[in-house]
Amino acid sequence: MTRLDNPLIVQGDRTVLVEVDSPRFAEVRPHLARFADLEKMPEHVHTYRLGALSLWNARASGMTTAEILGVLEGFAKFPLPAVIPGWVRDTAGRFGRLELRRAPGGGLLLVAADVGLADELAALPPLAGLLARRLSSTAFHVELEHRGRLKVRLVEAGHPAEDLAGYTPGEPLIITLRDTCAGSGRPFVLRDYQRAAVEAFHCGGGERGGSGVLTLPCGAGKTIVAIAAMAAVGASTLVLVTGVTAARQWIAELRDKTGLTAEQVGEYDGSTKTVAPVTVATYQVLTYRDRAAGGMPHLELFNRRDWGLVVYDEVHLLPAPVFQATAGIQARRRLGLTATLVREDGHERDVFALIGPRKADVAWKALEAEGWIARAVCSEVRLAQPAELRIPYLSAPAKEKHRLAAENPAKLDAVRRLMARHPGAPTLIIGLYVEQVVAIADALGIPHLIGSTAQRERERLYAGFRAGSLTALAVSKVANSSVDLPDASVAIQVSGTFGSRQEEAQRLGRILRPKPGENRAWFYSLVTADTVEQEFALQRQRFLCEQGYEYRIDDWREPCSPA
């Protein structure tokens, strides 16, 4: 039966379209987010995709197949395509038919729901060597060290195992959350969605909790959620982050929000290698390869202490060696943090198998509506290419065209005019080409931060930016991720690859943190019109619009450009 007031359109290709303006949108959104991955969220119709992993995530969170179908059927405008119910039943029904438990005499037990499934597993070549022996018609013995690899292979084979083997408690560590921030003295209280995410992860300390991924948008306070999760677990914790700056900001946050002392928090990176009850390490140092000795010596950090929890910041960037190391620490609790589960390398299955299922997914629109993140306006400013550069551009080889367009000298004046629009607002000027970033910084008389900037200088600049003594900073792509600039409200992108979804998300994330006053942020991209840069910008435009951001195009090619 057709019910046009319902919000869902379920399509045979397993996409689910959701009409945002439907009166039942708010009702269906939390249910749908549990078993479908949000792919696009332009302003009116969001696209979710049903996939095996998304269904298994839902099953892992306790949702039944009937509930999934109930949501689809109950909220759909049109009858479900004939293929969907059967596929959902088959796929979702696979979760829970295999359980990984701790064996009484040591090791693990893989228990199948029926003999047929057990026989199928026994015959699967990828599982050879991982299933030690068959104990009964439905149970296999599994060595402890194979726990991670077995889960990966089972997911690949389409038979996910529910890991109920539990965790090692780890070295106990009492982590108390402060009532007020140590630095600012402002009250520190977990927001509702942060508390809910922590509970979804921890599950009261039971076997069904303790491993999983929390998906929160940029600016939603992923670090805070992780710290609260650490407090809930109450054990020594290894935090893995993307770079040194991020590591230090993590440490600062830990000191600011918890009662941990300086000695209890260690930094483990290229320059410092302190292992403490809470250790913050970088992916780079873990994957450092010692050419002389061979191998990656710092991966041993995973076993240097009896960690009760391992936190993976920006889990969508997790490098392959860390995945492999993670396969060997499946007895430890694991928490993944990300703004997007989309991995450019397509390793979503590994994240599911080795880190855990998605435990919480917070919509940024909801956060924006509640004022937890700033309302961002994305603008593309199109500039004319100077006439004297037009012929050189047209005759340049294809690979040089982008740079010629990106380094349009007219951009400097445009930056000035944009900064004049937002006088005094903390402004980041972001560029792909170092020379361009430096030139603009010099012309505007503002500092710049590039790859060769020393760590000490970086921190000085960040501190000044935070304190408000610096209102503008030109940065190269080093600022793409994990650079916490809480007061930036304007970003002006003078050049970029415009092709990477991650880069765009990360750059935009720099300005999403809540702002005082009207809580708005502006993200400008300067684009040379009628060049390849405009083509790249089109991809960026689509991506940002798919993410639901407001997008404007300002054409400044006319002599009378807008003020």
Partner: protein, 640 residues
């Protein structure tokens, strides 16, 4: 089979045959077979005495008996698939009246029926009242009525009798009841030869003498059942039936989708002029999803093929055999660039012309279901649309069910048809309505409250039928805005809107596998520019989107659309004969010498029309002291 029977020869033997005992008659059938040796002697004698058998070196059939047996076998064959009574009647009719195929054809032609095949004739002849009434003729005795006289007459005389018979028949047929013998004879233009006239008319089954049993009066006329059918009560006019109808010119939408796709990228055709399977599938995938109530269950590929076929007949599409491709024509490009109503008007004009008899409709559109029409009906109604037009005009814009209308239409189209023919005509009408009238939006369709199809003539239908002099598209009473254009350049359909799908498909890229509802299109520069090249303007595209979208058009989309449309430039290519000069002065001299066709293409380049003979030019320039090398060896040049 009947045609091979020479009744003239068989007829004199028939009384003798009928006089023989049944077992003797059966024995005759064995003569000439391998069983003839078992023929009892007394039967041989009886047959010989009757003049049906002659003796010689064996048993031989007498002259004319072969024809008699042929007649009997025909009856026997008929008996195998018809009920015995009818077959018996047919046999009797054949035996007595001497029917043969041309005569039956003539007879049916007089009734407005044309036949294609002998088996159809036979089936018809043996199936209804005709045979029974032919039997009546036997009761009267053909010989007595026609006053058979086998004297030879000239061809001219026979032709005269035939004309007289036809004239008399015309009068008889026009009577509501069979006239009396006297009245009929009084209308014979050639009373002197009345027996011959009657013989012709009766032999050709154009006239059946009938006995009015009630009053013992001899009448001449059509079979009684024919009069009963002719004088049957008038059918009930379809009464208005309440219900909601919707129209969808789905074939027009198909045509737009196919033309738009082929305008953007021509399809390759095979050596046998058919479209490649892959291209056909790709086109089929572009077709809008149509309301299942409106569109017959057609395979999308068949729909695409039909759209191509219509497009070719309208000269919107053309096949280029040399380049082996199917592409949009210039006319097609102009048509595609028209607003929807204008595009539709062009199609409706063709239908209207066909209804007015100015265009051969069968050539215009007989594709779907054309092969399923009863052949004799198709042939019998060379202009079915004109007839259907009258029916539709009479129905007007009331809403009626198809089932209700069928018998009424049938009667309108063929007042004197038999009930079986009425059903067949009804089916024909139904197919024409659904395949053409509905498909082009001339008739709107809905679901009747009690089930079945609900029909109503649309504004387009009124125009096609000639009720309106001009086509005025009906305004949307309740404008539905079924789509949303999003800032990421996607277009989502929240409800099926096939016509809009076709419209938007002209300048937007359909997402793979998308149709019906959901995110169906993406506005891309390539698709927009293809639309622009096809003649669509940015304002028209924006108007279509703005009129149909439930939400305001995002600013960035509007900006990009305008930019993409504005980025299209039209350039022309032409062959030129290019002369390369050593310096600008020489170039100027050549332009001067080659006036008026020469033009400067650049400082050192001079262009000339491509048909200019370079050798002639070389001679002309040589007179001004310029030696022009024309790409040949100097020797050849000199030779030339």
């Amino acid at each position: 089979m009947l045609a091979r029977v020479n009744w003239e020869a068989a007829c004199p033997l028939l009384p003798r045959w009928l006089a023989l005992p049944r077992e003797v008659r059966l024995a005759l059938l064995l003569v000439g077979s391998r069983e003839e040796g078992r023929l009892p002697r007394e039967h041989q004698v009886a047959l010989a005495d009757a003049g049906l058998l002659r003796r010689g070196s064996g048993l031989h059939l007498a002259t004319g008996v072969e024809s008699l047996l042929g007649l009997l076998r025909t009856a026997a064959v008929a008996e195998t698939y018809q009920d015995p009574t009818t077959a018996g009647s047919l046999a009797l009719a054949g035996e007595v009246v001497g029917a043969h195929l041309p005569a039956i054809r003539t007879r049916f032609a007089a009734m407005g029926i044309r036949w294609h095949r002998d088996d159809e004739v036979l089936a018809a002849a043996s199936s209804g009242e005709l045979a029974r009434l032919a039997a009546e003729a036997a009761v009267w005795g053909w010989n007595d009525l026609a006053g058979i006289n086998l004297t030879l007459v000239s061809h001219e005389h026979l032709a005269a009798h035939r004309r007289s018979g036809q004239a008399m028949l015309s009068w008889i047929v026009a009577q509501p009841q069979a006239p009396t013998w006297e009245a009929a004879v009084a209308h014979c233009p050639d009373p002197a030869h009345l027996p011959l006239v009657l013989r012709w008319a009766t032999q050709c089954l154009v006239l059946i003498p009938q006995l009015a049993v009630q009053d013992g009066v001899l009448r001449l006329g059509q079979p009684r059942a024919w009069y009963a059918h002719r004088n049957r009560p008038a059918p009930t006019r379809p009464s208005p039936s309440p219900g909601v109808v919707g129209e969808q010119a789905w074939r027009l939408d198909d045509l737009v989708a196919v033309c738009a796709a082929l305008g953007a990228k021509p399809a390759r055709i095979n050596k046998d002029w058919t479209l490649g399977v892959r291209d056909l599938r790709a086109l089929a995938a572009l077709l809008p999803v149509a309301d299942a109530r409106l569109v017959p269950v057609l395979d999308p590929e068949l729909r695409a093929s039909e759209a191509i076929s219509v497009g070719q007949r309208l000269e919107l599409l053309t096949t280029d055999g040399r380049q082996r491709r199917l592409a949009l024509t210039a006319a097609g490009r102009r048509w595609l660039a028209q607003p929807r109503d204008e595009r539709r008007r062009l199609i409706l004009d063709r239908l209207r012309a066909a209804c007015q008899g100015e265009l051969d409709l069968r050539r215009y559109d007989g594709q779907s279901g054309g092969g399923t029409y009863p052949r004799h009906l198709d042939a019998r109604h060379p202009e079915p649309w004109r007839l259907l037009r009258d029916a539709l005009r009479d129905l007007g814009e009331t809403t009626w069910t198809l089932a209700q209308a069928l018998p009424w239409w049938s009667r309108t189209l063929q007042p004197h048809a038999s009930p079986a023919d009425e059903r067949a005509v009804g089916l024909l009408c139904q197919q024409l309505v659904l395949d053409v009238a509905v498909a082009y939006g001339a008739v709107a369709v809905g679901e009747a409250p009690g089930g079945g199809l609900l029909l109503r003539l649309t504004a387009a239908g009124r125009y096609v039928c000639g009720l309106d002099a001009a086509y005025t598209p009906a305004p949307d009473l309740a404008p539905v805005r079924p789509l949303i254009v999003q800032a990421d350049h996607t277009i989502a359909f929240l409800a099926p809107a096939p016509a809009l799908e076709a419209e938007i498909g002209r300048f937007a890229e359909r997402l793979p596998g998308a149709s019906g509802v959901g995110v169906l299109f993406r506005l891309t520069r390539e698709a927009v520019q293809a639309g622009a090249i096809a003649g669509i303007s940015s304002e028209e595209a924006l108007r279509i989107l703005i009129d149909a979208t439930a939400k305001p058009l995002p600013d960035n989309v509007t900006h990009e659309l305008r930019g993409w449309f504005g980025g299209v430039r039209r350039a022309s290519a032409a062959l030129r004969l290019v002369v390369t000069c050593p310096d600008e002065a020489t170039a100027a001299r050549i332009v001067e010498a080659a006036r008026p066709d020469a033009e400067r293409l650049g400082p050192l380049l001079v262009g000339l029309p491509p048909d200019r003979d370079p050798l002639v030019l070389a001679r002309r320039l040589a007179k001004t002291g310029i030696a022009l090398a024309v790409g040949l060896d100097e020797d050849e040049d000199e030779d030339g």
